[in-house]
Symmetry: C2
Subunit: 367 residues, 2 copies
């Protein structure tokens, strides 16, 4: 079998990792303030990084409303475990990030799926669900360059969700790791965190440096109401004293030196090229595929013809030397005719061959 | 008020942090294998570090029985949450590490305290508790240079605890972050992890690089039966994908280059000097204090005269410009006549003045 071309993993290929920039940042962090990097901190993590993040967000966000965490996945887990009890209703987009669905299941919550449209969650369907008697405690939204769906929540829907949060008292978990992985031509929309300022809406924003620096640094953050951040930071302190201060000191050095912005600029050009390569190859080899062309992020969500079976397709694809994730992994039910492609993980030169292999597997399955 | 001299925090003072060694290790880690440092890993963490740790332990330990974690505190939390259910009985030493007691309380376990003697837990009292009908699911033991008590579990007691684990089926959590913080003259005793090899005993060993490298790296590990490590690694993966690969890559570089051993040698000489300074000053200023002279670690546990009230002493001590932790924090009940001193945090030159301040506070309290 030829070498596997994997569109499965939501991570950039090795050539996009900023080894040199991180190496230089590590030097400076351990020269300028080694005590910060090497000592215990508290549950909020690296305080200067909290302040830098608050500034970066602007719109009234202050440092005491930010906590840095060991990645945004663990931060989400901590938030869920803190806010939710067994039997609580949580609205999830359909499709949604598979690990989130699993975490919410493990916590015994009642997950109510609401369809994702080309411009984000179907807000009218959410309102209908509430009118039908569902009382969500939390609504989980991946707002930019959705994983897995590639779509972005429109500004109008952002505003409406914030209004609904204020009206019905539910939390919005704005899960937003891809916001800065934005390609030329894509508009930057306000976060719901910003739109909630001065309202009664309750928004907890999560993001991460996994996509803008690299996943191995495991540095993410939460931003929200000061009181709730305080409670979460206390909980973090009880569980791990402080998150990783060494990695956070290195990330902070990248942030303040401009190394982060330089890397984002570089990576976003490379990723846009990969997106374009995948979109082009799909047009050539799998013209039946329907998808949102993402303005950033890592993912494309393909809807294939009615009656497709992507879970059954996967082993055939692997025989051809190509991998993806089948749609059902991201759904409470259904998803059989969909699949997720990560374009971050495949250098552009390999893309046409990779997509051809999927096309061949589809032919085999249908013949 | 004079500058605070704090014997409260279980962390070395800034001058003992190996900034240069970590800086050099970061350079090498990000030059030799940047992909490992910057990519996602899996729940076990840095695989080469797992293998190195298995080798370091020896005695039959293999890499698949080790997982690297974001510090050993979070690892303990994960283990407790995995193994224990509300109402389960857990035996804790008295005194024991305060954060462990809080975690076990938060999980709703029934904590049964067993007295600590000069050579570790009173094993006969543990056997009596079992004979009286207590059925521990887990026995929590800090085996070397105990926090807070300074004592070390004797080899005979280690062997007996392993036998009891095999006989009664309870888990031993061997919480052992100070093992390598061992001063000249202190014997190295076998771990219960090693003694359990080839028996039915169930030992989960936890340790950390917080004391041998620095706390800010937040790198710890668990070692135990392969099957249980596999389950815990799966759980870790579900919660945080992988622990911090960048920090682990740097720690691994320190390990394989000999930088770790060099730092341990350096730090242990410095810490022994601090211990000696505190022991000497106590003899001069607070001769009533009874304590185990620790052969390593960070802590001394003072028993003061009958009728002492260390919680009441603390604010008076702070007025004098000195801090410690009062005994009750480490006890399910009692501890009023005891207090914990960390000698790691105070440079030797400040020690006589610090201990004199405690003596003055005691005089004030008793006058």
């Amino acid at each position: 079998m030829a070498d596997l071309i994997s569109f499965a993993r939501g991570a950039p290929s090795a050539d996009l990792l900023p080894a040199e920039a991180v190496r230089e940042a590590a030097q400076r962090a351990l020269t300028d303030n080694p005590v910060r990097a090497l000592s215990y901190g508290t549950g909020i993590g690296h305080p200067e990084l909290c302040a830098w993040l608050a500034d970066r967000h602007g719109n009234g966000l202050t440092a005491e409303r930010v906590m840095v965490t060991n990645g945004s996945l663990e931060a989400g887990w901590m938030l869920f475990d803190h806010l939710l009890e067994r039997g609580d209703t949580v609205v999830v987009e359909q499709p949604s990030y598979d690990r989130t669905l699993l975490m919410l299941e493990r916590l015994g919550t009642r997950r109510v799926g609401v369809t994702l449209e080309r411009d984000g969650i179907d807000v009218e369907a959410l309102e209908q669900a509430i009118a039908d008697g569902h009382k969500p405690k939390l609504v989980h939204i991946i707002s930019n360059f959705h994983n897995p769906a590639g779509c972005t929540l429109s500004e109008a829907k952002r505003r409406r969700l914030v209004e609904l949060s204020a009206q019905h008292g539910f939390w919005i978990f704005e899960d937003d790791p891809y916001r800065e992985v934005r390609f030329a031509g894509a508009e930057e929309l306000p976060t719901m965190l910003a739109l909630a300022e001065g309202t009664e809406a309750r928004v907890m924003h999560a993001s991460s440096f996994s996509k803008t620096v690299s996943p191995g640094v495991r540095v993410g953050y939460l931003a929200g109401p000061a009181e709730e951040i305080g409670r979460l930071a206390k909980r973090a302190g009880e569980t791990y004293i402080s998150p990783n201060m060494l990695a956070e000191a290195i990330v902070y050095e990248l942030c303040r030196s401009g190394g982060l912005d330089a890397n984002i600029a570089l990576v976003n050009v490379a990723l846009a090229e990969r997106r374009d390569a995948v979109v082009g190859a799909l047009g050539d080899s799998i013209p039946e595929a329907e998808f949102v062309v993402p303005g950033g992020g890592y993912f494309l969500w393909l809807d294939l013809a009615q009656g497709s079976d992507t879970a059954g397709l996967l082993p055939l694809a692997k025989e051809q030397g190509v991998a993806f994730v089948a749609g059902p992994d991201f759904m409470l039910s259904g998803g059989e005719q969909s699949l997720r492609l990560s374009f971050a993980s495949v250098p552009p030169g390999l893309v046409p061959e990779g997509i051809s292999r999927i096309a061949r597997a589809l032919e085999t399955q249908r013949s």
